[in-house]
């Protein structure tokens, strides 16, 4: 495999591995836990490195996952003292742990390839240089590690799918059915931590957050079904990874930063044009509702005066605006709209209901 394809593969696998647990973080309103965990795993990596003496030992994953879970517990511990609100607790715990990690890295681990830039940006461009041999195949270490993490995430989600689903959408029911919410909570947090550690090397602390939160949030705008949301999140993650890589290569910029920017663009596009939930759809719906409502008002007015002696006066094209207290142009537009919809006809300057118009008015009355 050429180095480009290897980097691209790592990027895609990282983004899918992040998107899967991210879906549950979004649904459980714990999105910012990914921020906290992805920062504080640095401390776990550094401490693990001091103990083991290797920067790429798999045991580091365990240390880092432990730190992730410790972060969550610390936040809960602080919150439970009732002296600080939960958001403030998150806002204190992870900067503190991250700071200690950064200080340790800059001060004592300078000769290792862990420095400030790696902490923030990862080293995905270096992925092909760090290789392991498995079954006679020489593969980039990042690819192997992230594939393992992806498989772990996927199998945990498949095995505990209904447990995760129920405890996410109805925690009360989950408890009543006998699942332990605590077990599921910490299990999910461990998955997030392990993923964050793996992705940390590839994309750095802050951009893990982008891959965990933005694709699931995008998917959340497009579907109501959990399984589809998982699929769309992975797809958005993959698209962002591919586009991000090529844009970065073209501009010679940071791959991780560019991937994060692409997730943002995917989200922005979806936010604008998603069917039903997108901004344009909302604006169009409001716009249509305004005309529909005005048309209904007009039709009701016509029904009220249909066949009465003052019909000629009340329903005259040029004077009806005075009776409805609308302005001239608006009234003309409503008449045009109603005519186009086939709910009225104009006969000798007088507005007459069609059968369709009568139906619409009846429906409005029936409400």
């Amino acid at each position: 495999m050429s180095p480009q394809i290897e980097i691209l593969l790592v990027a895609i696998i990282v983004s899918i591995a992040c998107a899967l647990p991210g879906v549950f973080l979004i649904l459980r309103r714990m999105a910012l836990m990914s921020d906290a965990i992805s920062h504080s795993v640095l401390l776990g990596i550094v401490v693990g490195f001091f103990i083991i003496g290797q920067v790429d030992s798999p045991i580091l994953l365990i240390f880092a996952a432990g730190t992730g879970v410790a972060t969550v517990s610390l936040v809960e511990l602080l919150h439970r003292t009732q002296l600080v609100k939960e958001d403030a607790a998150i806002g204190i715990v992870f900067p503190a742990l991250f700071s200690i990690g950064v200080i340790l890295v800059t001060r004592y681990a300078n000769n290792v390839h862990l420095d400030q830039d790696v902490v923030l940006l990862g080293e995905i461009a270096l992925a092909p240089f760090d290789r392991v041999t498995i079954l006679g195949l020489s593969l980039p270490r990042g690819l192997v590690v992230m594939t393992l993490i992806l498989v772990t995430n996927l199998s945990c989600i498949v095995i505990f799918y209904k447990e995760l689903k129920i405890s996410t959408f109805d925690a009360g029911l989950a408890t009543a059915l006998g699942f332990s919410p605590v077990f599921i909570h910490y299990g999910l947090m461990s998955l997030v931590s392990i993923t964050a550690v793996g992705a940390f090397h590839a994309v750095g602390a802050v951009l893990v957050v982008a891959l965990m939160i933005v694709p699931p949030a995008t998917a959340y705008l497009l579907t109501n079904r959990l399984s589809i949301m998982l699929a769309i999140s992975s797809l958005v993650g993959t698209i962002s990874a591919i586009m991000g890589y090529f844009v970065a290569a073209k501009m010679d910029a940071s791959v991780a930063g560019s991937m994060a920017s692409m997730t943002g663009i995917c989200f922005l596009l979806t936010f604008l044009i998603a069917p039903k939930r997108g901004i344009l759809a909302i604006i169009y719906r409001r716009f249509r509702q305004k005309w529909e409502f005005s048309q209904t008002l007009l039709l009701i007015h016509l029904v009220n005066h249909e066949g009465k002696e003052n019909e000629a006066e009340e329903c005259n094209v040029n004077r009806i605006n005075q009776h409805l207290s609308w302005n001239q142009t608006f009234t003309q537009n409503v008449i045009l709209y109603a005519e186009k919809k086939g709910s009225i006809q104009i006969e000798e300057q007088i507005l007459r209901l069609t059968n369709r118009g009568r139906e619409i008015a009846d429906q409005a009355f029936a409400r």
Partner: protein, 302 residues
Amino acid sequence: MQIFLHLFSDYTLRTVAIGTAILGIVSGALGSYAVLRKQSLVGDAISHAALPGICLAFLITDSKTPLVMIVGASLAGWLGILVVTAIVRNTRIKEDAALGIILAVFFGVGIVLLTLIQKIPNANQAGLDKFLFGQAAALLERDIKTMGIISIMVISLTFLFWKEFKLLCFDPTFGASLGFPMKILDILLMTLIVIAIVIGLQAVGVVLMSAMVVAPASAARQWTNRLAIMVCLAALFGAIAGVTGAIISSTTAKIPTGPMIVVCASVIFLFSLAFAPNRGLIWQSLLKKTKFKPEINEVDPK
């Protein structure tokens, strides 16, 4: 002790100390409002969102004067808040996710811009990456002057609108019924918080500045139930954390400023959590032993 004597004789150290004291005071004071309004994590999003603003400001003006940086960062921070509001108002995405989206995406864009700027063959660009983790030692006198003037404006506005902001924090509905324009006050307070965050970016960095908003204010909250005392204490704690952290970082090799300042602020927070009278953990466990029920008065009436 030697270090503190140096404070008066060493010009660089004095500049650094004054600069970090200013940032501590402003972020502590304004942070109190953010913490009381449960917006602790908004600061996190704002500070990350400021990075592309800093880069764009540099790309457009080709200058690194503090005022340009502060204006760029504030505009980007504000844009971030606007987008969060738009997302929360128009979709079913909750605030935490919206903050996360803005934080990560803006930061990603900022990183792309930063790597692009570093490619420009221009000696002037050096040091822009110091905004990531901050470098107090790089503070110059002109930086201090700009920071000082802006801080004085921010603090005096806070005093000027003291009772309005108090209402905004504790009972906005009552405030509205009294005829105060709560929406405008909300925007004003948000702007002040944005500026307070942006001022500190150069010394503490975009990654960790949010802690300077949350930690001193949460520490101060443990000591008192009165807003005035809380704001003053938070400012004091912020200043102590800033100066101590900056001095340790400037006098010791290979210690980044931002993380050191945050560690100092966290130590102050832990100390307050343990030892504050009435609310502190040790005090409470003593009270429990003597079978007195502690009366914890929430400042927040909710």
